[in-house]
Symmetry: C2
Subunit: 303 residues, 2 copies
């Protein structure tokens, strides 16, 4: 099953015709998530053929407009197109107040339940969990309260070694216990250790998203060892002072987090509109962490 | 000087990749207005090279999302790009409450004055006036309070007949009074009637915008004789019942308003997403009022 992240927008505060502001669509083992929802996200979801009505949850990192202003329109469209299925929505506590004032003024009702979870300041929380995946929040360091998200597969079952299971004539009724790691005790009372019957599964895949944040080493633990890390990189080295003032990161700082967290791959984004191409940012990041890609709208990363 | 209307979005509640929701950019004698501001309007303004930072006023017809959800992002972008000049904003009273909650949650300040005028329920008001143009509101009939807008040139000065002015040796100092319609009294005390010296100007041009409304003959007076009338036409004849239920109009009803108001040209829009092309809607409207055009995103109408 797939684990894919599609970049719906990689720009920052002022969108341009080439770069929408932040939004990402995640298909993690057929669990469909939206992370951030800038203005225009509903059209970007349509453009990249996302399963809008099947979204399981939306996660909003913080209440700057370039990360959530598309949410009102998206929820309205989901309603108008007939959604009935409940939607989990996780975001800063003030988000629900914003939605309520829009609905009140427009005398609008949304025809499906929204299960709102207010993110807890400074905390890492388990936000979503089912048999396939789970999602956790973690705090970032921005001008207002802001959170990152980590989407991760559940640990996989051990892989059966077919020849060994056949050789030991393991009954079907035992198979669930075997893939769960139990040793097999045969009818003569003899124990076959599990590692003769199964192989360890591949490690679970994980994706972490760090929207707007200053360089902050406390992030490292939360994104440790992920297959793919998205980290904002608003500025190049020359604008380091500006990154500091605005609680953003440089591309090099993003790469340092990636390196310290020993991730497989880094993707940077949230570029200031002053950078017409990403070359400078990507080059500076690669000096610290070679496996860096510069996001562009519409790119899909497969883990 | 120009009087132009650019359609930034002609769709209705659910935007599609071909049709944005409602927004129009008006350049009336170098007064720049935005009428409605659906999600994505800031990019549409950019796409069609509008003078965003020079906007004099924004008029919002009502508080359904497809008419205003782009406003928060647009104001933020104007601020981030350095606007200092005051902006007039006219809309339903609740609009300012919506903006305030966004700014409060994002700890955002907008660095230019916003002169907010809350539209008065059921009233027609003068919203904007200067030496070149004026703008009036008028009430429409929708599920929630909703207004249309009429943008009109100030009456023009009379046209000087150069040969007559020369023949009568009218001094320069008299010219302002002459174009204002005064008769000329020459040094010998003889009166030259103004209509020997000037010709009447062309009539002032006017544009009227009727966003969401049921068929309502009270609109006719407010849009009387305009050069161009935009009137919503959400449905075709076959969906008349649905127009009634939702307080919208059919294309034929829009055309009846145009005919009764004796306008020069009608442009219809706000099509339901069920109409992939506008042929049916335009054809039904033309049966009542032949000078009908179906709006498409990016069309410009010159008066």
């Amino acid at each position: 099953m797939k684990f894919e992240i599609t970049i719906l927008g990689c720009g920052s505060a002022t969108p341009t015709l080439r770069r929408h502001a932040t939004a990402q669509y995640v298909n993690a083992r057929e669990r469909y998530f939206l992370i951030d929802c800038a203005e225009g996200t509903q059209l970007q979801l349509r453009r990249y053929k996302a399963h809008v009505q099947r979204l399981h949850a939306i996660f909003i990192s913080h209440l700057h407009g370039d990360h959530y202003l598309g949410l009102m329109g998206l929820l309205s469209t989901m309603h108008l197109l007939g959604r009935k299925k409940a939607l989990k929505l996780c975001g800063p506590p003030g988000l629900i107040e914003i939605l309520d004032v829009h609905w009140k003024m427009g005398k609008t009702t949304i025809g499906f339940p929204i299960d709102f979870h207010p993110l807890e300041k400074g905390k890492s929380e388990l936000l979503y969990e089912d048999s396939q995946v789970f999602v956790r929040s973690f705090p970032l360091k921005h001008r207002i309260d802001c959170w990152g998200f980590r989407v991760e597969e559940q640990p996989l079952k051990r892989k059966v070694i077919k020849e060994a299971v056949d050789a030991h004539q393991v009954p079907v009724a035992w198979m669930k216990r075997i893939v769960d790691g139990e040793d097999y005790i045969n009818p003569t009372g003899h124990t076959i250790p599990n590692n003769k019957l199964t192989r360890p599964p591949r490690p679970p895949k994980a994706y972490a998203f760090c929207s707007d944040t200053a360089y902050d080493e406390r992030i490292i633990d939360h994104v440790k060892n992920v297959n793919l890390l998205y980290h904002e990189a608003t500025f190049a080295d020359a604008m380091q002072y500006r990154a500091k003032e605005t609680f953003h990161s440089t591309a090099r700082e993003a790469a340092r987090i990636a390196k310290s967290a020993e991730v497989d791959q880094l993707v940077i984004g949230h570029y200031s509109a002053r950078y017409r191409t990403t070359d400078l940012l990507v080059n500076e990041a690669r000096q610290e962490f070679p496996a860096t890609t510069g996001a562009e709208d519409g790119m899909t990363f497969t883990l």
